[in-house]
């Protein structure tokens, strides 16, 4: 009963072990990768641990307030430098150990050569509700 965010990065995480860019995989390898992710999500639905998942486009823009009566300033994208989130999955599990176990499984998605990517996934706990008995 703790929610965690699994973050996949385009950029910003340490390099994967099997670090061949996706555009150099074979189409079959890409399909296998996508299939693995879908199966993973379906399996979590079955165990009652799935909350949500979304993929994000690499295109992003920084936006900033620029003072009264003026349109917000936009800048970027900074695709070459900034940390880029590729997508997320939210899980609701019984504890941290289970979250780590699932993140490990997701990181094992097949990549080039059909071998696991071993990519780094960022695991972030959600803020929970304040326990009724703490004061």
């Amino acid at each position: 009963m703790a929610k965690y965010l699994l973050l996949k990065h385009y950029r910003g995480a340490p390099a994967s072990v099997n670090d061949t860019p996706m555009d150099q995989w074979t189409p079959e390898e890409i399909s296998a990768h996508v299939q693995y992710m879908d199966d993973f999500a379906k399996r979590l639905e079955q165990t009652g641990e799935y909350v949500d998942s979304q993929a994000l486009s690499p295109e992003g823009t920084f936006v900033r307030y620029d003072g009264e009566g003026r349109p917000p300033v936009t800048d970027g994208p900074f695709a070459e430098t900034k940390d880029l989130i590729a997508g997320w999955m939210i899980i609701d599990v019984d504890g941290y150990e289970r979250a780590v176990e699932l993140a490990g499984e997701l990181s094992a998605a097949p990549g080039a050569g059909g071998r696991p990517i071993h990519e780094w996934l960022e695991l972030r706990p959600f803020y929970g509700v304040p326990a009724t008995i703490t004061e």
Partner: protein, 380 residues
């Protein structure tokens, strides 16, 4: 149509079916069918004995479903066993349902979901909203839980601690969505207490009532946490406090102390003080000693350090804190508080900010950040 009445009958009816030998998952389906039927027909044709009506209809539905299955032999066995039309005493059936839904083979989250569904009578959607997960996820969690306990023989396991733990988890989740889980936990524990005479059940009920009584004063209108010492005590629910204390005292005289009774005793001492300054911290420390002996929990020792700080001064509190594992989530927050009481404001401010970074919920993070900001306030 009294939906609260209908809901309160669910565990009784389900308990009767399961006791008669129905598989748990099938029994639950049959009871849901019977409830739908009740909602449809009762407004025009209310039964004289609602529970008897539900048992009869649910049992018929269960038999129909069983007949529809290929398992003919099982059906024949069940027909042979069909008991007299008068339902067995409800209390025992409901009690066993509590134990089944909190069975040790279930994970905590599954046990919580199944208890709310089967004993609490909540819909899957209500439970999903309360825990902020998709309805499909909660439906899977519940159906897996039902499958897990389906093979469990329906007899009373000896361990009431599991049941109490599940109810405590429900209570601690507070509330979100359209179901007040804390109130639901109080309701289920109250019911358990009427059917199961056990000092720890009474202890948990007292603990919940005492905490629930302070709820209106725990948060400011903007949602910010209000520390116990700063709460407006006129907003505490005195009837609930009185009831909690009475239940606790009756439990304590039986001389079978357990962790919930000890926690309730601490809550009672807080609730009893007319002002924060008049809190009997010496007695609270004694109860923490009892609690530490019962549980060996490092969190109890952490809370004890706070109480020692109040009873014997911040230096004594810091000394007690030094003996507690400093990786505990709220260790830094306690250290910050004790340093502030001791007059070391820069250290306190630094520790409050550090504690805010480790907080596990937003209200606590914001509260700790405000504490740091208060001490760091720039002169204007």
């Amino acid at each position: 149509m009294d939906e609260a009445l209908l809901r309160s009958l669910i565990p009784d009816v389900l308990g009767v079916l399961v006791r008669r030998g129905a598989d748990f998952a099938a029994a639950e389906d049959a009871v849901q069918d019977a409830l739908v039927e009740a909602v449809r027909t009762w407004p025009d044709d209310p039964p004289r004995d609602p529970k008897g009506w539900l048992v009869t209809v649910a049992w018929r539905r269960f038999l129909d479903a069983t007949r529809a299955d290929a398992a003919r032999r099982r059906r024949e066995d069940l027909l042979d066993e069909e008991p007299a039309p008068v339902p067995a005493p409800a209390a025992d059936d409901t009690l066993q349902l509590y134990f089944l839904c909190a069975h040790p083979s279930l994970t905590p989250s599954s046990a919580v979901a199944l208890t709310l569904r089967a004993v609490g009578g909540l819909t899957t959607r209500q439970i999903a909203r309360a825990y902020l997960v998709p309805e499909a996820t909660m439906a899977q969690r519940i159906s897996r839980a039902k499958r897990t306990v389906s093979g469990v023989r329906f007899e009373r396991p000896g361990d009431v601690a599991t049941v109490l733990r599940v109810l405590y988890l429900v209570f601690n989740e507070g509330y979100s969505g359209d179901v007040d889980l804390a109130a639901e936990a109080v309701r289920l524990t109250r019911r358990l207490a009427t059917e199961f005479d056990h000092p720890e059940v009474a202890g948990l009920l007292a603990l919940m009532l005492l905490h629930h009584a302070r709820r209106a004063a725990r948060t400011a209108p903007d949602g910010a946490l209000v520390p116990l010492a700063e709460q407006d005590r006129t907003r505490w629910d005195t009837a609930s406090i009185a009831e909690g204390i009475e239940i606790l005292q009756a439990a304590l005289v039986r001389d079978r102390l357990g962790e919930y009774q000890a926690q309730a005793a601490i809550a009672a001492l807080h609730a009893d003080a007319p002002t924060a300054a008049e809190t009997d911290w010496v007695q609270i420390v004694e109860w923490y000693d009892e609690l530490a002996a019962l549980t060996g929990s490092p969190i109890v020792r952490l809370n004890r350090a706070v109480a020692v700080g109040e009873a014997d001064g911040p230096r004594a509190g810091l000394a007690a804190l030094a003996a507690v594992d400093d990786t505990l989530p709220r260790h830094t927050a306690v250290a910050a508080y004790l340093h502030e009481r001791d007059g070391d404001l820069p250290t306190a401010a630094r520790l409050y900010a550090e504690a805010a970074g480790k907080a596990s919920n937003l209200a606590e993070r914001d509260h700790l950040t405000r504490q740091a900001a208060r001490l760091n306030q720039r002169p204007r």
